[in-house]
Symmetry: C3
């Protein structure tokens, strides 16, 4: 029953490496270039703009932030915390500054991560005017005595927050929804892994299922303010059509598989992700109480969409530091995440509610799907899965529920479903 | 976010000590005086009378029992088991007697608690005519040989069983119900603690919430026959209005916190009590199979009211003996019980179904409810509770359910709810 | 409260021993004689015939198989694997053969059970033409070198597959359904135990409840093809009337008690069997994923009847070998299984939904069902069960649910129910 499977392997890591140097934030050139990079890969994307100052629910679209340079220069001319070497050195949305000051004054605006003395932390101040630098605790300790010039060449001007979405239509208006975010500067897992995975999934849907049953929606946006802006424009449509959605974040490492449930933990998103992750290495399921990304908006009380977040590792030491790089994120890590959603999409397109065409058990022996000689102890796991899939294929249980009931990964269930479908035993 | 809280401290222990000497029973002067004592504290109480012999469902109101004296006197004139020293010495509802008899005959009517040789047990015989004395096993063993005079100056006459109730009306006709019982002689935890707590709760409702949302009903009665008589008169009204009720018993010690669920364990009473007891020291939850007090009547199949029983300790060695005294019951023990119901009442009056007013997450930063600088690992438990309360405040989940979902004591949830309400984020 | 109970003891073991020698299969004389043996015990049985070649859903009724003799004869004239000594020696539905061959050719058609070297395994090939012999691994190893005559005197001809059913009508059209199977040759637990138990249950229903509340249906058939054929004829009727059903198999040993749940585990069959097995020695409950007998058909997606399978031991080493004999199956083993279904039937006939006639707790003291003297620690388990049964007798909970809620075996619940019914406290 083993089959040659088409190996689908989109160059996700290559995409991520190309985009790594850009200084992304809620707004600004780095984010704009990132969106256009992906629009080149998937032409169906359309860019949406929100003007600075626009009210979106309880929030206001911020000014557009651009930064060209930044550093600290000691009176000896030695430079520290150079933006051009690592864009985490300047805090996100930092005000411009060009000023001399003594070491003590400077230190008040320097941020480190004391428990990781070699890491440059990632710090932002979107909604309160600040300037500041990030460096490792070690670098901070080595700043020489004396006076400094502090220089940040940034500006905060009225402009736009950009979002990008694509709708890939299918026979049904019902949508599977994918969202990830593009507001983090040079960090790999959080968050280039999510956007590159989302683009690979989108290519797969188009290429593998040109005549698809379901519609698919893909969204790239800055976290929080971006998803709030997006929901403010599309809430009615999303509520009407989205039956299953996923927020993709930190999906490129090889350490574990993690899902965050919806508030009630009982949607198709919960069921499908649980089925696709069943039996995976270091699988962890968290309740909505442990949420942390854009599922916070998609599942908020009055939005209430069926959206789960998927992570590889939810808590990893490199998180929000310059250590989150391509030692952590690998093509294998990304590919394993891709396979999860490939399986879910395959299930949707294969037929969500299997139904046996036959009353009572089918005669599998005459179809070479069951041994013709009845002997003690000869029935393997494959036969057992086959019989159990048939036993629960009543046209009401979806493939995800069946996978969870049988405690067998969704991929295996789908393979068996294909076999039975080919033999016309099941529809 | 810490606040100066009004310390509410009603003199519950003082009330209990004043009432301790009275000989309470199903009927009679001790019980009548006890009711009038409480009517003095809460004037809204109204006394209801049931005539001896009246049928109440499957039962009949018993004769009124009064007792003035009782003892055993040895031929040496030495007295034993003197009612005037401890009213547990004569069994409840004992017939009068004035008779000489030998030691052997006497012993057949003496009750002890063999496994607690120093304790005088509490014994009653309400529905079968008996006379008898209770004493410690040790006292019994020391009864000298010879003849005795047995003397009980009691009478059983047609009279009344008395019950007392008060209704404190609010904007809604929906009622929170409290019941406790007044039929036990000189024992402190079982049962002076319940009545004094009930009276403190009643004062609190009136004083703290003069313009209250809900109505409250308070009942004091003799156990079993009293609650049956009460239900026989008010069943329709109770069924119509009571949404949440509590039977208070053994609430004055400091050892643990105990609740007994309703038969299905799924009413607002279950939910609220579980939320208010979450995280308490030695908290124990029993199913209805382990019931023992008037919840037996309130939750019986054809009455089926949402009433849980609350105990501090459900099983304590001093139970139904003269050791149940003010070494066991303390003002702190009573006050801790009071705080449980204060919290539940606060939740009812605060607004039972919180609902965020904002679509998507509110911008808490601009209201000083969230850090404006985004850094790794800076969000404390307070922020987490705040965000989680908001995430489940959909106008359908009540505060009790949210407390249980978040696994955070109801008091903390209410505090956070007040903060968010003050900021007009939630209604 | 102990009562003299009528000991009901049908000669199940005797019946099984009488039938043991017959060579049963899907069809043929052995099975026909077995059915007629039982029809003699319970005259209400009616035989139904299905012609060879008839289509039943996805299957076809096979040819009728009869066998008269079979053996292997070495050139030395010594005979092996003689059918007349043990009918497991020839594989079920074996083609006839009369041929000389060498040892090597012969061995390809000999089946053994390697991990049980002394056991003759039971092997069948109903749907593919084969001939073959079964013997113990030890016997096989001892087959001398040389040539052999292979002889099987069997035939496969157009004929009939037979099924037998009886309906014992009661006041209600709602049916309790029992099924077992008669297609196994000389093995005791699997499967003479099921048919003899079914016949004892049928006698009990008729003799104990001549004016019964419910109707009962009893079916004996060959496994799989028989139940499929049966369902193909009676599906509509079964769907309409069966409220609770049991498939009986391997019910004669003394080792354990086993049930297999329906696909959702929530029918009256699940509830009743769980209640009747509560507290039994080595009780095991398996989900439908572990099914193995005719519940596979009765619970298949489009049939979906409330039928559980009941086993004593589900997995036993003697299974499908000649070791499954009367060392394993005993009258006590059968009787213990009988008692399980006796209890369930008693519950159905006693009144399924107990309802207290009294509002609030009844006064049990005046009926001598409760102590009249109230003392600490005097209430035994019997009183507790009584009060708990009353507390859940709301006319909506069935006896099975109450037994499971109280965690007390159904038999004890029924006894207590009878007591309360006799006192007119409950209906």
């Amino acid at each position: 029953m083993k089959k040659n499977k088409l190996i689908i392997n989109y160059p996700m890591l290559k995409w991520a490496k190309s985009l790594f140097p850009l200084c992304r934030s809620l707004t600004g050139k780095g984010t704009q270039q990132t969106l256009r990079f992906f629009k080149n890969i998937n032409k169906e994307f359309k860019i949406l703009k929100f003007k600075s100052g626009t009210k979106v629910f309880d929030w206001k679209i911020p000014l557009e932030w651009n930064i060209r340079d930044g550093y600290i220069q000691h009176e000896s001319k030695k430079k520290f915390a150079q933006f051009k070497k690592c864009n985490l050195h300047v805090i996100g949305y930092s005000q411009p500054i060009n000023k001399k000051m003594n070491r003590e004054t400077l230190l008040k605006n320097i941020y480190t991560q004391k428990n990781q003395p070699n890491a440059i932390p990632y710090v932002t101040s979107y909604y309160k005017k600040r300037w500041g630098f990030c460096m490792s605790e070690k670098q901070k300790k080595n700043l020489p005595k004396g006076n400094y010039k502090v220089f940040i060449d940034s500006d905060l001007k009225r402009g736009f927050l950009e979002i990008m979405q694509a709708k890939i239509t299918g026979k049904s208006k019902k949508e599977i929804f994918f969202s990830s975010y593009v507001c983090h500067p040079s960090m790999a897992n959080n968050e280039l892994s999510g956007p590159v995975l989302l683009n690979a999934i989108m290519k797969y849907v188009k290429e593998k299922f040109p005549k698809r049953k379901f519609s698919y929606r893909f969204v790239l946006l800055p976290e929080t303010i971006g998803s709030i802006a997006y929901i403010s424009r599309f809430k009615t449509l999303l509520k009407k059509n989205v039956i299953c959605g996923f927020n993709l974040t930190c999906v490129g490492d090889e350490r574990s598989y993690t899902m965050i449930e919806t508030p009630n933990g009982n949607t198709m998103a919960d069921r499908s992700l649980l089925a696709a992750l069943r039996g995976k290495k270091n699988f962890k399921k968290y309740s909505f109480l442990e949420r942390g990304s854009d599922e916070r908006q998609y599942c908020s009380p009055s939005v209430d969409l069926p959206v789960c977040s998927f992570f590889k590792s939810k808590n990893f030491p490199e998180y929000h530091t310059n250590l989150d790089n391509f030692k952590l994120v690998t093509q294998k890590g990304l590919q394993d995440s891709f396979d999860v959603f490939k399986t879910i999409i395959d299930a949707f397109e294969l037929g969500l509610y299997p139904k046996t065409k036959i009353i009572c058990e089918p005669n599998l022996g005459k179809r070479n799907l069951y041994p013709t000689l009845s002997r003690k102890g000869i029935y393997g796991n494959e036969i057992k899965t086959r019989m159990n899939l048939l036993a629960y294929s009543n046209g009401k249980n979806d493939l995800f529920k069946i996978s969870n009931l049988l405690n067998i990964n969704l991929k295996e269930i789908c393979e068996e479903y294909k076999t039975l479908k080919a033999k016309k035993i099941i529809s």
